[in-house]
């Protein structure tokens, strides 16, 4: 086991990527992902990491380069955020359909306009339909650990899908925390070299990226969905193996005091840490509050979430995202659908858009509102915005 090192979220990802020894890194700078790429550039330029570093001219080309390198058989890493992900959006679908295990670190940042560089998970949440495995981390340690697991999950031959994982802009990306590191040798034992699903061999040529029309597109999409659904098995297996190696066990849904809770907060990303503090406080007061963090977001852990929520009266979802004109924000909608055949009342909250601080008292307000709902048993009629000025909560 390695030592504990003080690192920001971005740095912890860069250091973990270095241990995974990618062959190609293609990335374009965007705040607040920049430090990931800068550190990786340092490693390459100082000869500590043997990777081709492609300083592309846009995120669109970043993802396009990743596509090309991954098809060539390389282990590939990129990183982005917000507008960068919006720009590469087109290519995300193509990378997943080609079954390419590109790994992307995301510093989750609010989307323009108005332009803002702070936290918002919508940049990654809107990629829910792209066919990428999607994971949200809650601190620097989980960012570090997820990086190492990410390559193993994505490159597993049963999976062979791209994977993106996020850390909240600045709140994690730039926050300094102690991170328990791994040794190079440990990661080498844990993560086998990439063994690609297919290769571009001039002696045995194949074509990748054909035109598939009405007679085949439909079946191809069905097959792709099966791979995505099945990837859950590998994700859990890798989490288990990682736990055995490090003693740090991750789950697709990470729960905290959920077993006997009347109210469960359903969170993603950095808000999870604050929510844990609120759970601790409420438990000290004898209030049965629990937490379920949706750590793996795609494939969506339906069964695990239902299990986590099954004893609760109310599940309060906290979305750091917005989707306009929808029945509810993105996480809320997924939770609601998952529990539509029975389970707790789902009460939706929006908080912290554009990096607005989500404080302990804000989450306490959410919990109190959910306990009221538990008492009345009446399903709330609207989504509540926590702490938005000029609007009654």
């Amino acid at each position: 086991m390695g030592e504990i090192v003080g690192m920001t979220g971005d740095e912890s990802i860069a250091h973990a990527v270095k241990l995974c020894d990618p062959d190609v890194i293609a990335a374009y700078p965007i705040t607040p992902q920049t430090i990931m790429v800068e550190r990786l550039a340092d490693f390459v330029y100082d000869g500590e990491l043997d990777s081709e570093f492609i300083p592309v001219e846009s995120e669109h080309s970043a993802m396009s380069c990743c596509y090309g390198s991954s098809i060539a058989g390389a282990r590939v890493f990129t990183a982005s955020a917000s507008q960068g992900i919006a720009l590469m959006f087109e290519i995300l679908f193509i990378v997943s359909n080609a079954r390419l295990p590109v790994v992307m670190g995301v510093a989750n940042r609010a989307l323009s306009a108005p332009i803002n560089i702070h936290a918002g998970l919508e940049d990654q949440l809107v990629c829910r339909d792209t066919g990428w495995i999607s994971i949200f981390c809650h601190d620097c340690q989980s960012a570090y650990d997820t990086t190492i697991m990410a390559f193993k999950i994505a490159e597993d031959k049963e999976v062979s899908l791209p994977l993106m994982y996020g850390i909240d802009a600045f709140i994690i990306s730039h926050a300094l925390e102690g991170v328990e590191t791994l040794e190079k040798r440990e990661v080498e034992d844990f993560l086998p070299p990439r063994d690609p699903l297919y290769v571009l061999d001039p002696d045995d040529p194949i074509s990748v990226g054909s035109l598939a029309l009405q007679d085949s597109y439909y079946e191809l999409k069905y097959a792709q969905e099966q791979v995505m659904i099945n990837s859950m098995k590998t994700i859990k297996k890798v989490q288990e193996e990682f736990g055995e190696l490090t003693g740090r066990y991750y789950n697709v849904i990470n729960t905290y005091y959920a077993e006997d809770a009347d109210v469960i907060l359903v969170t993603q990303g950095a808000i999870t840490g604050t929510a844990r503090t609120v759970v601790d406080r409420y438990r000290r007061q004898g209030k049965k509050l629990g937490l379920a963090q949706v750590h793996v977001y795609r494939p969506f852990p339906e069964k695990e979430l239902r299990d986590a929520l099954k004893g609760a009266k109310v599940a309060a979802t906290i979305d750091r995202s917005i989707t306009f004109g929808a029945p509810g924000p993105i996480l809320y909608s997924d939770v609601k659908v998952t529990t539509s055949n029975g389970g707790p009342i789902i009460q939706g909250f929006i908080a912290g858009l554009g990096g607005r601080d989500v404080r302990i008292e804000d989450i306490a307000k959410v919990a109190d509102r959910a306990f009221e709902t538990a008492k009345t048993g009446e399903e709330p009629s609207k989504i509540s915005w926590v702490g938005v000025r000029g609007v009654e909560f």
Partner: protein, 327 residues
């Protein structure tokens, strides 16, 4: 900075057609679905005939891509990759970087492998110009071949940055008030050359020996190379499919699409058209229905003359760059 040009470095091998015709070169299989008379498969054929090492090809979205790889079939006899419309240069960059890293780290056997991207004028001049510029600037060892059929032919003949002045397309029709495309095309070859890559050239399917020689030079360069391939489209140009090669010749004889190369910064004409042999541009325009509105119902001397003036101006510019004096 290179002191020796590619032409000096690369010993020229004679092109023996008879031998080459019988050599098994990985090219396009028969039965692809490109139109009769389309020059794009010839562009691919001559490019691949020039290769001496294994190649990986990339196509951007377009006629060539949709017509050669209708799932579950493919006409490509060499590894081939398509991603999207605007990123052939970036995908090729990624492949080149991936192979380089894997070979350096001894994960795959070391062998010279050409990375060749094919893209139409839409995917090059317009939507793909940023990715192209990035790839040229970073200097990946790849060859980018733009087959210029001067419009978005695949989506139904819309105008592009390569469409000639006055040409009718479905988005620059030969209208009653505006007679075809009001703008002159952009000079993509100069744009590519401005990146100071080692090798940039124009090729034409009517001049296959020149074509193959230039591709050989492009592949010999260890930098990104750019090739502009003039590629007639009978469907989009409303031209008889038997005239493809004649139209391609006229493009050179009128000096509208001259043949030249920029080898380590040196401009060199590879097909001089003497003053007395220079064909009036009108002869080129007349072969194609996309210029019909310039002749019927009323002759548009203004457009024809402006085209001629523009061609003359560009030609004089090129002669100066090549250090050639017209007697």
């Amino acid at each position: 900075m290179t002191e020796t040009t590619i032409t000096e470095k690369k010993k020229e091998k004679p092109i023996k057609w008879r031998e080459m015709a019988f050599e098994e070169r990985p090219v396009l299989a028969a039965g692809h679905r490109l139109c009769a008379g389309c020059a794009a498969p010839l562009v691919v054929k001559f490019t691949m005939m020039a290769t001496e090492d294994p190649s990986i090809c990339v196509s951007s979205t377009g006629c060539l891509e949709v017509s050669t790889t209708i799932y579950p079939y493919t006409a490509w006899q060499t590894p081939w990759v398509h991603c999207a419309f605007e990123n052939a240069a970036a995908v090729a960059s990624g492949i080149e970087a991936g192979l380089k890293a894997l070979m350096r780290k001894n994960k795959i056997p070391k062998r010279k492998t050409n990375v060749i991207a094919f893209s139409g004028d839409g995917g090059t001049y317009d939507i793909g110009v940023q990715a192209l510029s990035g790839a040229l600037e970073r200097g990946h060892n790849l060859t980018y071949v733009c087959y210029d059929n001067s419009a978005y032919e695949n989506t139904g003949i819309q105008r592009s940055g390569a469409t000639p002045y006055g040409a009718a397309t479905t988005t620059s029709p030969g209208g009653k008030v505006i007679p075809g495309k009001p703008e002159f095309p952009k000079d993509i070859v100069k744009i590519a050359a401005a990146h100071d890559v080692q090798y940039v050239a124009t090729v034409n399917v009517a001049y296959p020996k020149d074509f193959i020689k230039k591709i050989r030079k492009a592949l010999a360069s260890d930098d990104a190379s750019f090739i502009h391939a003039f590629s007639p489209c009978p469907l989009g140009w409303r031209a008889d499919s038997s005239l493809t090669i004649r139209i391609a010749e006229l493009a050179v004889e009128t000096c509208m699409y001259p043949l030249y190369e920029v080898d380590c910064g040196e401009y060199r004409l590879t097909k001089m058209i003497k003053k007395e042999n220079k064909v009036p541009v009108e002869e080129f325009l007349k072969t194609q229905g996309r210029f019909r509105h310039l002749f019927k119902p009323k002759r548009r001397d203004d457009i024809i003359n402006d085209t001629q003036k523009w061609v003359d101006w560009k030609w004089q510019q090129l002669l100066r760059l090549c250090g050639v004096k017209e007697e």
